[in-house]
């Protein structure tokens, strides 16, 4: 079974979801929890069986699908995808376990299980088309979750989410087909296998175009400024569980794809586009942080904060060195945990008050101290307090990018200021001060079911902040091989310089001060 564990991980939830149709709706929650516990256990087993010292792909599977066109069902994990898969399993588990009383709970759980299939599939796929299949398929359950259980604007939000990402990924598909065609021209056989593509060195001019095509698909998914506007709507309207999974896992698809596709396939283009993308990332960081500060709805604050954090992830990715990329991958996990938790927390208060407007709250720390504490922990993680999970990622991402540009890193570093501003302001509005609304006087503190989700997240937040090594180690190994690959493949002189040669060890670049600023 371990040989096919990835397929099992992908399709077990889907099969379970199909069987879910015959389960009575009163037992559905238990069924969902059972399935996701098994899935999570399998994911942990995967981690256990994973050899951290190997940088390449593990547990590979290959089944020909359309061999004449080079489409094969290829799966595999490395340090980059491993933890996101585990995170996906984990969030589905706590998502289902902490699911509040929802109408049509049966449909919801079935949808979530299907969603889990697509999420694991995206991160395990090593064939561009299979990747694309799961990538697109993940839109459908999310569309349904937002559209069926969302707020008043749910239809607008869900359709916007779907069409926006769909349009972007179709452009990406054209890019993939191009890539396959280049591979065909170079070798005479069709192949969509990513590992095959890695071996292909493209001329820089082609790289630029292909990079742009992939970029559109990924950037919308991330979402990068100025393609981010679907996100506030999606988060604003989605039910809690939808927001949690969207923020924790689905957004990571974009950034993951940058690392899996854009960087190793187009090293020269990555260097070429590094500055423009970094500038976009910085706009994302600062601009969306400011927009978050202006929000009146606490969920929108968290939503915009997601965009802001994704900016740091992008920046780390385009540091193009081991520190930055490792940091950005770690930050993906970190942001998944933290923003997932924050959305859960917003859901807690929404369940009690049926509003998310911050002016309706105030002084909640008096009546809900536990809630305030957990929110506080996540708040601090979100603003990147050291010894929380986010800091490791943010620190490494910024540190990595500093090698590429001092000024831009300085600007990006503003993240730690603006991030603190909106988060603290929101926290103050919600929790501090006297209680002004009578409705808030008798609010119940977090209950057991909610704690079931929040406590593990808090523990992870601190644990990986203090001791990131179990995660960072495997990530590092895989990232080193990717950076080395990029260095070897790079054709332009600048790219050779910008992308470090990992094997030779660090070359300390002394930057003359004049250039530094």
């Amino acid at each position: 079974m371990i040989d096919h564990i990835l397929s099992v991980l992908i399709f077990f939830p889907a099969v379970a979801a199909v069987f879910g149709f015959i389960i009575h709706k009163d037992s559905m929650r238990a069924y969902g929890v059972a399935v996701s516990v098994i899935e999570f256990a399998l994911a942990l087993w995967l981690w256990f069986a994973f050899d951290s010292n190997v940088s390449g792909m593990q547990f590979m599977e290959l089944i020909p699908v359309v061999p004449s066109f080079g489409i094969n069902y290829i799966l595999g994990v490395d340090g980059i995808s491993l933890f996101i898969i585990i995170l996906a399993a984990f969030f589905t588990l706590i998502g289902i376990a902490s699911l509040t009383d929802t109408k049509n709970v049966k449909n919801m759980i079935i949808t979530l299980l299907f969603l889990q299939m697509t999420m694991v599939g995206v991160f395990a796929a090593l064939d561009a088309i299979i990747f694309y299949v799961f990538w697109e398929l993940s839109l459908v359950p999310m569309l349904y979750i937002i559209g069926a259980w969302g707020g008043p604007l749910r239809i607008y939000a869900s359709v916007k989410f779907f069409l926006y990402t769909f349009a972007g990924s179709l452009v990406m598909l054209v890019g993939m087909l191009f890539m396959a065609y280049f591979y065909y021209q170079a070798t005479g056989v069709w192949s969509f296998a990513i590992l095959d593509w890695y071996r292909l060195i493209l001329p820089e001019s082609f790289q630029l175009w292909l990079f742009a095509a992939f970029f559109i698909g990924f950037a919308i998914k991330v979402p990068m400024f100025p393609f981010h506007t679907w996100l506030p709507y999606a988060h604003g309207q989605a039910p809690t569980i939808g927001s949690v999974i969207l923020a924790a896992i689905l957004l990571k698809m974009g950034t993951y794809a940058f690392i899996r596709f854009s960087l190793p396939l187009f090293p020269d283009a990555s260097v070429f586009y590094m500055y423009p993308i970094a500038i976009l990332a910085i706009i994302m960081i600062i601009y969306t942080a400011m927009v978050a500060y202006a929000q009146e709805d606490v969920k929108q604050v968290v939503a915009y904060s997601s965009v802001s954090h994704m900016g740091v992830i992008i920046l780390g990715t385009f540091a193009l060195n081991v520190e930055g990329i490792s940091g950005s991958i770690f930050l993906m996990i970190a942001h998944g945990v933290v923003s997932g938790a924050l959305f859960l927390l917003v859901g807690v208060i929404y369940d009690r008050r049926h509003t998310k407007m911050m002016d309706q709250f105030g002084g909640l720390a008096h009546v809900m101290p536990r809630y305030a504490t957990i929110f506080g922990i996540m708040l601090m993680a979100s603003v990147g307090m050291p010894l929380t999970i986010n800091f490791v990622g943010e620190f490494l991402s910024l540190l990595g990018f500093y090698q590429q540009s001092h000024t831009l890193t300085l600007l990006a570093g503003v993240a730690i200021i603006v991030g603190a501003i909106y988060m603290l302001a929101a926290y103050k509005k919600m929790f501090f001060g006297e209680i002004t609304k009578d409705e808030n006087r008798n609010l119940k503190d977090v209950n057991k079911r909610e704690l079931l989700a929040l406590i593990p997240l808090s523990i992870i937040t601190i644990w990986l902040g203090v001791y990131p090594k179990p995660v960072l180690g495997p990530i590092n190994n895989s990232v080193e091989s990717i950076v080395q690959l990029m260095h070897d493949k790079a054709t332009s002189v600048e790219a050779k310089i910008r992308i470090p040669n990992v094997i030779e060890g660090i070359v300390i670049t002394r930057t003359p001060a004049g250039e530094a600023h």
Binding site: S68, A148, A180
Partner: protein, 502 residues
Amino acid sequence: MLAPVNVSLESLNLMTLAPMLIPIVGALLILVIDLFKSNLDKTLYVGVSLLFLFMDFFALYDASTIFAQDGTMLGVFNVMLIDGLALLSQFIIVIASMLFIPLALTHKRFHEFSYPEFFALFLFMIGGFQFMVASDNLILIFVGLETASLALYTMIAMHNRDKSFEAAVKYFTMGALAAGFFSFGAMVFYALTGSIEINQIAAVLAGNGYADIGYVLVGVVFMLASFGFKLSIVPFHTWAPDVYEGSSAAMAGYMSIVPKIAAFVVAMRLFEFLIHSGVIWLEVVLYAFVVITMTAANLWALVQTDVKRMLAYSSISHAGFVMAAILIGTTQANSALFLYWILFSFTNLGSFSMLWISRQKHLPDGQSSDHSYDKFAGMIKTSPMAAVVMALFMLSLAGLPPFALFWGKLYMISSAVTGGYTVLALIMALNSAIAGYYYLKLIVYMFMKEPVVGVNGEVYVSNATNALKTIIGIAAVGTVFAIIAVNPLLEFITAFVYNSGY
């Protein structure tokens, strides 16, 4: 004086006629049966039709094994041309017809199916289409085309509603005009080359180096107009939405598949040699047609309030999409055309069948058309299974992986990329995104709104019988598990297309 005709039966190669003759014999048989005993149940006719279609299928299978060994066959004074395109398209025609004909076994009683003539016409029509695709003689193409079309007009009218007659009249009149265009175009080619066989025309034109390019283009224009009508290329598409709306859903589904593949094959035969000979004008015009048809039809589909009409526009858009294959003209593109169309057949058959089973004798309360979006509101609550299946078809039409049509789109866009039409590939991709909206709209209605009509869900399956459900089941399975079939299909198609020299 003409010399006495002296041909050996061998050289006629009558085998090539067998697939077309079988449905015609079947049609005649049905008429004969009716002569002897009228008022037989429609199941009999459905059965007989299916039987003959199966025979047709085996005849085709037989022919295709011969083709696989010996290559292209000519027959009957070299009028018949059995090549890969002919075989593939006939397979599509016959299989789609086999899937269509059980749709006559509805729960509610519909006027047309009580006439045996309907089934006879149906079989005649199939014969007509088969002639059309299996020849490169313009006369035979014309005859096949008209046989099929006339039968089709009649069948539409037999639905016996005001709208059906209106649709039939519109379709008929425009069809007559298109026939005029076709014959004029054929005349121009005949005048230029002295031949009405496409390969002869091509040879003569190539021989004189397209000296009279202006006149050639005049001929091409009329042919384009004629096939533009059949393929519903903007601005020759105007019949399509009305005809789809006026005819029964089953008929509309059928029309969106079978006549078009026949027309595509002829268009391939007729236009591709011109493009390959460097007639830039045609390339430019086709490019424009492809883009305009895809885009405009999508935009119109966006604003529809009736699902069937929306599907009509969507079919136009899909046709435009597939037109690109003719423009690109590589083996991959032509294979993509067939692959796309096969996968499209399953999906579209399914979606129209879903409309068909929800068809009532009378308009739903408060609705101005049979299948308005409102009718499907909240379907997931009242009739979840049907809603899920319908959603599957919509997602497939939208090109969402891994459902059937995605693989067609994938291969088609890939052929555009490979053929050097990068911008076209992008336009195709973006059009798929636009199209996503109106397919999604139905899903939104079904899954995210509160029911408006038919709270008990009865309305969605009012016309359902086991036969219809089976057809939908087949379509659904074909849509969902298309991925398994793609590879064998692709290998089969590519071999056939390649061996026909396209």
